[in-house]
């Protein structure tokens, strides 16, 4: 289909960067936004020469919900559920990165137990996120069995997190100065079981995929990017690491409990689709390794800091003392009073550097919340991964880039 408007009543939401082919045998095709392989609604307008992509024009924004605008109308606390809906495959990492940014601005130091729990849950979310990415990208290449194995484990993780937080995907579990509540009884025992199952299942994925001829043919030397180009186009996370450099915020700018953990940073060789698959597979193993260490390290103690600026007072005291009642009321109605200033905090999310830039004017509602979403920046360089390869490779490259509409379009 050419990009001409066929229906007068429905205006085209995008203006393509090009609408005439650059060569005589060139054809311009439109891919997405509603295509089974563009999970997360992305539109790619590509010029083809035969089956080869010559130019690609990437359009995102179909999932734009005005996240940043909406945040300015909520208190620092009540916007946490919106934060979940950025990268909805690993919502806990978003929660913790946001809370960390607010806590930095307020000068709040979280309790040791929360620090370890947040680290543990971040890694647990990373496994779920990588599983989603790998499952979707291998399924699009026809590997239905691998998809189902990964989804089985991921669903156990989701159910397990639902046990903790009450929701399968959007947890809203982080709180400024702590967490919603402590672990339920028996949660860590079940975690151990799931990790054991994980090893069994991921072993099968390795067996099915790693030396699979079809998989290698479709992913090896496809969507290649060099380290220099990747940095130039702002790639971070597994995509940057797949080019062969160990750039990981967990190691480079330590936060939470990462400095105390023993872990490796897996890197790729070529920066192609196969390397991105393999880096993610290895990262999940490292996450499991970290979770096992954290389960040993997890100290007892309180979850929330004892700070009346952000933590709600105990219910019993709210009912019996006027000071606590007022404190509770002010925290709920006005929100935590965050000192005026600005902060940028970044966590290594499953997709790369997830940064929160917050500006406070000293009140309970933010003046500005900005998210540096890795997926959005990655879409700015996606054309580099598509140009020069086959049209069918668009699907596998897009799969391994793991664009998440929620955080890309906000």
């Amino acid at each position: 289909m050419t990009m001409r408007d066929t229906d007068e009543t429905l205006p085209n939401p995008v203006r393509p960067a090009f609408d005439t082919p650059s060569t005589e045998d060139g054809v311009i095709v439109n891919i997405g936004p509603s295509h089974p392989a563009t999970h997360g609604t992305l539109q790619i307008i590509a010029e083809l020469s035969g089956e080869r992509v010559v130019r690609a024009d990437v359009h995102c924004g179909y999932l734009h919900r005005g996240f940043e605008k909406e945040c300015e109308a909520h208190t620092w606390h009540t916007l946490i559920p919106f934060v979940d809906r950025l990268n909805y495959c690993s919502a806990l990492i978003n929660n913790f990165a946001y809370c960390d940014a607010v806590e930095t601005l307020m000068g709040v130091e979280i309790t040791p137990r929360t620090r370890y729990l947040r680290t543990l849950l971040s890694e647990y979310s990373r496994i779920a996120d990588h599983m989603t990415c790998i499952a979707a990208s291998v399924m699009e290449l026809g590997a239905m069995t691998a998809f189902l194995y990964l989804m089985t484990i991921r669903d156990w993780i989701y159910e397990h997190l639902a046990d903790l937080t009450g929701a399968r995907v959007t947890y809203s579990y982080g709180r400024i100065g702590g967490l919603a509540h402590d672990l339920p009884e028996g949660w860590l025992e079940r975690l151990e079981q799931i990790l054991d199952e994980y090893e069994e299942y991921v072993g099968r994925i390795h067996g099915l995929m790693d030396r699979n001829r079809i998989f290698i043919d479709r992913t090896r030397d496809v969507g290649v990017i060099s380290t220099e180009q990747a940095v130039h186009w702002g790639f971070t996370g597994p995509i940057l690491r797949s080019t062969g450099v160990a750039r990981d915020l967990r190691r480079d700018t330590p936060y939470l409990a990462y400095p105390e953990l023993d872990f490796e940073i897996p890197v790729g060789i070529n920066g192609d689709n196969y390397d991105r698959y393999y880096v993610r597979m290895r990262e999940m193993d490292e996450s499991v390794h970290m979770i096992r260490q954290l389960m040993q390290m997890l100290p007892d103690g309180p979850i929330n800091v004892d700070d009346r600026r952000c933590t709600l007072p105990e219910k019993q005291r709210v009912y019996t003392e006027i000071e606590s009642l007022i404190n509770h009321f002010k925290l709920v109605i006005d929100g935590p009073q965050v000192p005026a200033g600005e902060v940028y905090r970044a966590h290594e999310a499953a997709n790369g550097e997830l940064g929160f830039y917050l500006v406070s004017d000293g009140t309970g509602t933010p003046h500005r919340v900005h998210v540096r979403a890795p997926s959005f920046v990655h879409m700015g360089g996606l054309h580099k991964l598509l140009e020069g390869y086959q049209l069918a490779d668009v699907v596998s490259t897009f799969g391994t880039v793991n664009m998440i509409g929620g955080e890309c379009d906000r």
Binding site: L10, P11, N12, P13, V14, R15, A17, H59, C60, G61, H64, G66, E68, K69, E70, E72, A73, T104, L105, V231, H232, W233, G234, T236, V245, R247, D252, T253, G341, E342, V343, Y344, R345, A346, E353, G355, Y357, V359, H367, R368, H370, R372, F376, V377, M379, G380, G381, K384, D409, R410
Partner: protein
């Protein structure tokens, strides 16, 4: 080593008459918009800030100049961040584009243009990105009401 780099950078910037201070783990620099491109050049080529993280704006409706344009940079070698902040007036919201230096600037500047109407001189491609063609106004400006709707396709009765 990393803090050394920022100290050297601060000394170098103060030679140019720019104020820089440490804030929450990064070096924050306030600078006039004329100095932006040259400073970024220096950051990239002399101090190795090779990753352009982010550009966005902050609207202060009661202040003149009204907007802050905020850029964040990261050095993948030294693992430190720098924030550059420059003020632009509502009547002439223009800053230099960083596209010649960083490819990643292209999409982020488009978003900033969408949301705040900041124009980036040198970025030829400021088509809407999160919004759509024909969208009126800039939604992240404080004078854009949150409730205002502009559906591209009319709602079904």
């Amino acid at each position: 080593m990393a803090v050394d780099l920022l100290e050297r950078l601060r000394a170098r910037l103060s030679e140019d008459g720019l104020e820089a201070e440490f804030a929450h783990g990064l070096l924050a620099v306030q600078l006039p918009r004329e100095a932006l491109l040259e400073t970024v050049h220096r950051l990239k080529n002399e101090f190795g800030f090779d990753l352009f993280l982010d550009v966005t704006a902050v609207d202060w409706p009661d202040r003149d100049p009204r907007f802050d344009v905020v850029c964040h940079f990261y050095s993948t070698h030294d693992h430190v961040r720098v924030r550059l902040k420059t003020r632009v007036p509502a009547a002439d919201p223009v800053v230099d584009s960083l596209v010649p230096l960083y490819g990643s600037a292209a999409f982020m500047e488009r978003e900033c243009h969408d949301m705040f109407g900041i124009r980036f001189r040198g970025n030829e491609d400021l088509r809407p990105i999160l919004l759509y063609e024909g969208f009126q106004g800039h939604p992240l400006r404080k004078d854009y009401p949150k409730e205002r709707e502009q559906p591209l396709v009319r709602y079904r009765e």
